[in-house]
């Protein structure tokens, strides 16, 4: 299957590089001429995911794949895991520190935002093991 596959490592706590991976993914989508509305949803979802890796997990990895009909973003970390997934999927719920909130993040919109923007959303999380999110966007 012909496709574009890229993988990005995201560092924990590094706000200078936070956003680089989603910016690269956005650039590639635009170059490919993917419809603007889809690119917008990919950017928002990927950016949220990347910030989550920087803030909540111990960093992690973002895999980006493009096939003629869909874009798949997989976000994997071996961070603390999410104890109550249902709660975390609720808008406004956040465990972010004040320091992070002061930067304008941690409003508790991350996971719900990812789900809302993706055409398909899947999340697996285990405390002490990590979190594995897959977002699919139809082109």
């Amino acid at each position: 299957m012909t496709m574009i596959k890229e993988s990005f490592q995201v560092k924990q706590g590094d706000m200078t590089t936070a956003g680089d991976a989603s910016a690269r993914i956005k650039r590639q989508c635009k170059q490919l001429g993917i419809p603007a509305s889809v690119v917008r949803r990919v950017s928002v979802g990927t950016y949220e995911a990347e910030i989550n890796l920087v803030i909540h997990a111990n960093g992690g990895r973002i895999d980006f794949a493009v096939e003629p009909e869909k874009i798949t973003i997989r976000v994997v970390d071996d961070g603390p895991g999410i104890p109550d997934l249902e709660k975390a999927m609720t808008e406004g719920w956040s465990t972010a520190s004040n320091e992070v909130r002061n930067l304008g993040f941690g409003a508790g919109m991350g996971l719900p935002n990812m789900k809302r923007n993706a055409d398909a959303f899947d999340i697996k999380s285990e405390v002490g093991v990590g979190t594995d999110i897959t977002m699919v966007f139809n082109i």
């Binding site: 917008r40 950017s43 928002v44 950016y47």
Partner: protein
């Protein structure tokens, strides 16, 4: 025909002055420049007429085409539409009235301040923001270079752009209507001319976005009328009997002037094209959703930093404070102009995204091309030096895939290749040292066969 018109650009190259250096190449915000055969080439579909290349070219090889003052002769009645930036250009002149009076002496029958139209447009925008539901943040439509940047690089944000025309456009319409009504002359005989600090405005007038045809009949550069205005500014003048713009409109010349005039609670102003690009990236990632209105200006210091101005933009900004002290603080709100402004000055056509930055072909072909670009880019040195004539290694990779360049345009790749060839030749030389004589006797009849006289 339409195609040709679409690519009119006010920014162009003076080939005699261009030395093929990399200054403009590296600074173009849309990567619209290539150096080919020691000359800069502007890719029309990618140029947004921002004028950045005009500012950075040390040889003044980049020029903005505007119209000479003589163009006003094509119309029986002529109206000057001075941008408020004009008022800041003259040292020791703090009364804009003197400058407006000088414009009449240049041959104009009427002067209508664009700052007055800016007041009407501010009102129309604020009405729209209050009464209508629009995706936030709403983005200003006033800077033509920013509009074209969004169209090309941030098309998903076109829905955020306010669908109200620019103050220049509104000024031309109001001025012509007023003139036709008060003097009883047909509108076709009236020409409206924008006195411009901006390189993108002529392109904007010739190929407007959001409207069918512009009411502006010509764009004259501030720098081209500077000395003539300067000469008349010293003359005495009789007080003008026209409605004057207030500080609200005149402040549109500086960053935040527009956002302040629109009067929403959460506004932001960003000036300078690279800053604007960063802001647009963030708006795309939904990071500015809580803002109501965003004013984006391609030039540092906004219109005061326009490439067609004479005065340093920072000096002009400081001078504006003195000018504002001599400007009426109370707005003249004529009902016939202000009523229905939000509908009257609405754009009539959607702004379509531009595909200039995208790969072409079917989705599968585009994917293959993108994969090839990534592969080529990884093999390039990654120095983004521009010596190949493309602005970055990645741009060269795209140019190679597009068939406009080869890997040998990269001087490092070429160097590598030459070293390999040289060492191959040395070893070839060493291994064939004793065979050379024999080869030569074999080669001789061939040489005779290719004698041109035999043909």
């Amino acid at each position: 025909m339409k195609g040709e018109e679409r690519y009119f650009h006010s920014v162009s190259l003076d080939a005699d002055k261009c030395r093929g250096c990399t200054n403009c190449l590296k600074r173009c915000p849309t990567e619209a420049i290539r150096i080919r055969n020691n000359q800069a080439v502007i890719i029309p579909a990618n140029c947004i007429d921002c004028g950045e290349c005009i500012r950075v070219c040390p040889h003044h090889a980049k020029v903005a085409t505007t119209e000479p003052l003589s163009i006003i002769g094509a119309f029986e009645y002529r109206i000057a539409l001075p941008a408020p930036a004009l008022y800041t250009q003259f040292p020791q002149v703090h009364q804009s009235e003197k400058i407006i009076a000088a414009l009449y002496k240049l041959g104009f029958d009427e002067v209508f301040e664009v700052a007055r139209a800016a007041e009407v447009i501010s009102y129309a925008i604020s009405r729209t923001l209050i009464n209508e539901d629009r995706p936030r943040p709403v983005i200003s439509s006033a800077c033509p270079a920013v509009l074209r940047l969004i169209q090309q690089k941030y098309p998903s944000l076109l829905d955020n752009v306010i669908d109200i025309v620019s103050p220049m456009e509104a000024a031309a319409r109001i001025a012509k209507e007023e003139f036709a009504r008060t003097r009883g002359v047909p509108v076709e005989k009236i020409g409206a001319f924008f006195i411009s600090p901006c390189a993108a405005k002529l392109s904007d007038v010739r190929n407007p976005l959001g409207i069918g045809k512009s009411a502006v009949d010509g764009v004259i550069a501030i720098k081209d009328v500077y000395t003539q205005i300067q000469a008349h500014v010293k003359d005495g003048f009789t007080p003008l009997e026209i409605d004057r713009a207030s500080t609200v409109g005149v402040r549109w010349a500086i960053p935040s002037g527009e956002a302040d005039a629109v009067g929403m609670r959460h506004t932001l102003c960003v000036d300078g094209i690279e800053n604007v690009k960063r802001a647009l990236e963030q708006i795309e990632d939904s990071r500015f959703d809580r803002l109501d209105y965003v004013e984006l200006l391609a030039c540092t210091n906004g219109c005061l930093g326009g490439p067609l101005t004479v005065e340093n933009g920072f000096v002009a900004k400081s001078r504006l404070n003195a000018i504002l002290r001599h400007t009426p603080s109370k707005m003249v709100q004529r009902t016939e102009i202000f009523q229905d402004a939000a509908t009257r000055f609405r754009t009539t056509e959607p702004i379509e995204p531009s595909d200039a930055q995208q790969l072409t072909g079917t989705m599968m072909e585009r994917i293959l091309k993108a994969a090839r670009i990534d592969e080529i880019e990884q093999n390039l040195p990654g120095l983004d030096c521009g010596s190949c004539g493309s602005p970055t290694c990645r741009a060269l990779a795209r140019d190679i895939v597009g068939g406009f360049a080869t890997e040998m345009n990269c001087i490092f790749k070429l160097n590598e290749r030459i070293s390999t060839l040289a060492s191959e030749m040395v070893s070839l030389g060493a291994s064939t040292r004793f065979a050379v004589g024999a080869n030569r006797t074999v080669a001789a009849p061939d040489a005779e066969n290719t004698d041109p006289q035999e043909e």
